[in-house]
């Protein structure tokens, strides 16, 4: 080990600690008793699902303008990508999302699933 290696090591350890700290803060901010999954395509929320209220498991496929697709599955309390035609399959490998703050993305198809823990109910219903 050279002298500089120790400095690099120290900097990296500090970086990791800070990033973990931020992760903790992020989790804390997103805390809540709700499990609201938001599916966002091209920066637009296309679907909001209250995961606690899912009775039957359900799957559906989202297609984007270029014809690419991602298949999403919801079960009670959790949601995930189960299939996609993107090359890296990062979205599928993200596995189940079940906690507020969880995120899964498919960058090539620009789809993001996010779980929010805050009450996201409507204020009023127009009928």
């Amino acid at each position: 080990m050279k002298k500089g290696d120790k400095i690099v090591g120290l900097i990296i350890i500090i970086l990791i600690t800070i990033s973990l700290l931020f992760l903790g803060i992020y989790r804390f901010i997103n805390k809540g008793d709700k499990l609201i999954a938001k599916i966002i395509q091209d920066q637009e929320v296309i679907k909001v699902i209250d995961l606690d209220k899912v009775e039957e498991p359900k799957e559906w496929t989202i297609e984007n303008e270029e014809g690419h697709h991602n298949t999403i599955r919801v079960e009670k309390g959790r949601i995930r990508f189960i299939e996609a035609d993107c090359p890296d399959l990062v979205c599928v490998n993200s596995g189940w999302l079940s906690k507020p703050g969880d995120i899964a993305v498919c960058i090539p198809n620009k789809i993001l699933i996010r779980i929010e823990g805050k009450d996201d109910e409507v204020d009023q219903i127009s009928y």
Binding site: F22, I29, V48, E121, V122, D123, Q124, I125, S126, Y127
Partner: protein, 339 residues
């Protein structure tokens, strides 16, 4: 370091909230439940505003209801084809608006529909499907042109005997606007009012975000919404075939009567929602759009400034106007955004 800065930005989105109290009141008036909810630090001020609102609603009801012993509207109906009736500024304004929208919608909304509505009796115990002859004989009484409004004297008259008006829906819209005005005059800037499904909002929510208004699922239970609309300082009014109806011989008859046919409107729409500034406009327009059908309804809305609409058709397709593109989200995926 760039990403650290970005990280900090990510988490700095929360702001301090004011300590607002929630002051709410539920009133039964104008044949419906009226819910007022005020968010303000000053409880006394809010209570005073609510008190003034209740008085105003009672006043409006006394002038415009047809379910009282006496009201200005009942007087107009009783004097149809006979004498002009002197009415208050309030009633005159609402009648004028109603006539305006009757004209604008080319009779799809018609304030003189009352004789036919009464014949059907939808929403009452006597609801029934009338004979065809009964409808055709009453249909010639439905004509908004027969309502004469004299601006200079506030005198009102229906030309033919047997003609009648019912300001039900549009009076509800007017009451919503009046409550909003009273709250604003009392320096209340965060509140919502729900008049039997007509939503009126003041400003933004306490945290500065938009109000989230659910659109009732026309095929589901009350409280079940298919989409969420984010609004600031707007009113949202929905007309649907699920509000009042009866079923005879397996067929559903709802309360929105097409003034041209005398039968419940069946133009393929099951729910129409209007988003605009004034509830009185929204009420008349949501009925108009429902009766006009998708194509003509959309045409009407697009011809108006500052008015947006959400239309749901029988085949569960949802159509929205350009102005709602950013703020409208479907949450029930059995409904499909079609445009």
């Amino acid at each position: 370091m760039v990403f650290l800065i970005l990280l900090v930005l990510t988490f700095s989105g929360c702001s301090k909230e004011k300590t607002s109290e929630v002051i709410s009141e539920t009133i039964y008036a104008l044949g419906t439940v009226i819910d007022i909810q005020i968010y303000d630090e000053n409880v006394d001020k809010a209570k005073k505003a609510i008190q003034e609102s209740i008085e105003r609603i009672t006043e409006i009801e006394n002038k415009m209801s047809v379910n009282k012993d006496i009201s200005e509207v009942i007087l107009i109906n009783e004097n149809a084809g006979e004498n002009p009736v002197q009415v208050s500024e309030d009633t005159f304004y609402v009648l004028k608006k109603a006539k305006e929208y009757s004209k604008l919608s080319n009779g799809a909304f018609d304030l003189t529909i009352e004789p036919i509505v009464k014949l059907w009796g939808i929403g009452t115990e006597d609801a029934r499907v009338p004979e065809k002859e009964e409808i055709t004989s009453l249909l010639n009484l439905v004509n908004y042109e027969d309502l004469k409004l004299d601006e200079s004297t506030n005198k009102v008259q229906l030309n033919k005997k047997g003609q009648a008006i019912d300001l039900g829906g549009i009076a509800k819209g007017y009451a919503g606007d009046e409550i909003k005005r009273i709250l604003l005059e009392n320096d209340i800037n965060t509140a919502f009012i729900n008049l039997g499904g007509n939503v009126v909002t003041l400003g933004t929510k306490v945290d500065g975000s938009s109000w989230r208004i659910g659109i009732q699922n026309p095929l589901g239970d009350r409280g079940n919404y298919i989409a969420v609309l984010e609004v600031v300082d707007k009113t949202v009014v929905t007309s649907g075939n699920y509000e009042r109806y009866f079923i005879e011989d397996g067929k559903r008859y709802h309360h929105i009567i097409n003034p041209k046919t005398g039968y419940p409107a069946e133009e393929g729409i099951i729910s129409s929602t209007i988003v605009t500034d004034k509830s009185i406009d929204a009420d008349a327009l949501s009925t108009s759009v429902y009766v006009l059908g998708l194509e003509k309804g959309m045409e009407l809305i697009e011809s108006l400034d500052n008015v947006d609409a959400v239309i749901i058709t029988e085949d569960k397709n949802v159509y929205i106007t350009e102005g709602l593109k950013e703020t409208f989200n479907i949450v029930d995926d059995s409904f499909i955004l079609a445009n």
